[in-house]
Symmetry: C2
Subunit: 353 residues, 2 copies
Amino acid sequence: MHADDLLNSNYVKWMLAEEAPASDIVISSRIRLARNLNLIPFPHLLDQKSGERSLAEIQAAWQKSQDPILREMELLTFDQLSPLDRQILVEKHLISPNHAAANEHYRGLLVNRDGALAIMINEEDHLRIQCLLPGLQVEACYEMAERIDDQLEKNLNFAFDESRGYLTACPTNVGTGMRASVMLHLPAITLTGLANAIFQNIAQLGMTVRGLYGEGSEVVGNLYQVSNQVTLGQSEEDIINNLTTITAQMVDQERIMRSRLANETRFQLEDRVGRAFGILTNARIMTSNEALNLLSDVRLGVDLGIIKDIRPFALNELMAAVSPAHLQKRSGQEMDPFQRDVKRAEVIKEKLG
Amino acid sequence: MHADDLLNSNYVKWMLAEEAPASDIVISSRIRLARNLNLIPFPHLLDQKSGERSLAEIQAAWQKSQDPILREMELLTFDQLSPLDRQILVEKHLISPNHAAANEHYRGLLVNRDGALAIMINEEDHLRIQCLLPGLQVEACYEMAERIDDQLEKNLNFAFDESRGYLTACPTNVGTGMRASVMLHLPAITLTGLANAIFQNIAQLGMTVRGLYGEGSEVVGNLYQVSNQVTLGQSEEDIINNLTTITAQMVDQERIMRSRLANETRFQLEDRVGRAFGILTNARIMTSNEALNLLSDVRLGVDLGIIKDIRPFALNELMAAVSPAHLQKRSGQEMDPFQRDVKRAEVIKEKLG
């Protein structure tokens, strides 16, 4: 069962930075389509019977599909996934923190082998089709997500309104039901104090900036998730083009600020990167936030050639590997925060040292 | 000329921790005897003629002596020593900062091959006989200093008063003219917040606590210089016994606190030591104070066996090597503070990396 691989390894598709465009700055791109089944209450209103019906309809549609992409996927319902396993999927960005917190057995996930495709079942909506790829590939994500969407729609009756589009549990998703997002690593923009001004501009263009785990999560490690705010009154193509254009501009800006840092304050930059590497490879106790912040410095050092012999893939993998659930899975035991901080330092030393 | 060795290498006798008792905590012991010549004004009142006379009398007495210890010494007058060279001698603790700041050619230094013995000429007093050894060896320092004193007294007429003892330029040195001191590395006492209480006790026992370069210098790197405050009304033996006893107590206390840290907060201790080592071996820019503070953590790690393969000698040598004058001597050029910070990081990386 490839779900075991997903749970036991650190690797998922979006980490493969080497394959991807602009992956020195764009960690990943994501499309998420919210879909709901006609005549079944939205997930927050589900009882056991209607929840099971929702799951059964989705499962049947998936099994009927002949598309090899869908056939390759596996179904994991929450009775098969421990809370720790679900947390691991969150840390790999395959399901949302909210989904992981739910307990009902009719909640679940369809996921492919490398985690590029994941369909949350009975999260906030009956289906949340997600495609997650490394680098700046919003368009490619959309093509894959749309393909899944089309395949499933052959056998499912989606709640759809001619004038309003796809109906969703939360009105902010009505219309396309689409959220397009990119995860950006912007250390130079942050260091030079430009981040706030840039994000204010972006907000005026209908985009939102969030932290590593989406809504409500704080920004650490200079990682920013930028996504469209509006789902209604804009076509999917417009949203994707808009996000891609804005992202490309931010990539340019980050590159300019990086080369300015590298040229004008070379020693300070090398000092910052060196210290981060030195602490990461020698500390004995490390919090998650400190790790992400130091890994951000090291990533910048790798991107600028200050540090050799570390691949961006290893850093992406490490971001997941040092998260609480991954650490506990690796140790085979529950750990309190202090034990995790010790284990985290150990894992980092092993991977980077 | 062995003075060249002293100026160009980092090594002097007090750094040889491996040979010395309690050298995990007592970096060095020092005896300094203040002596003045009869019928010549104290140094701060010297004019060129009387200054040259003072120097000539001391030089003649030294040359007449048959004692191999004195014969091995070399005379360096300030016309032979650039300001940078003098600063190097300060950083090796062979002369005082005040002496280094003077410019008259009749000021100088008699020094032996390994820097254990040094006689400042025309500093605050006409002679300041110093013996500096690694570890807790106040008694041994005194024996060597007294031997020099006796030898020189055969051919010099010291200013001496039957009731008051040796006369000195500053009344705080009158009597024995002796200052006995130890340089202590007390990271555990400092970390556990006990330092202030202990130093208040010591003050009541007639001892003073100072920083790395004596009077007026700040405490960095958890290095404390403890010395006798009183020179009058106590015999040399009393002063030495008193300092040795108090030092032994502090050594015990520091050892107790170290093993408490090692037992009760092992991970935190290893974390602190590891981070210090990681930063020292990876930074690109480092101030002198930061270096001394981090080297203190590394030294503690070496003493407690957390870090292997670094000898205490190397750390003592490094303390001198990263001081401003040593860095400039090594580079063969004057450097501004930023250039020194860069060079310092480079030297540390080379020595510890």
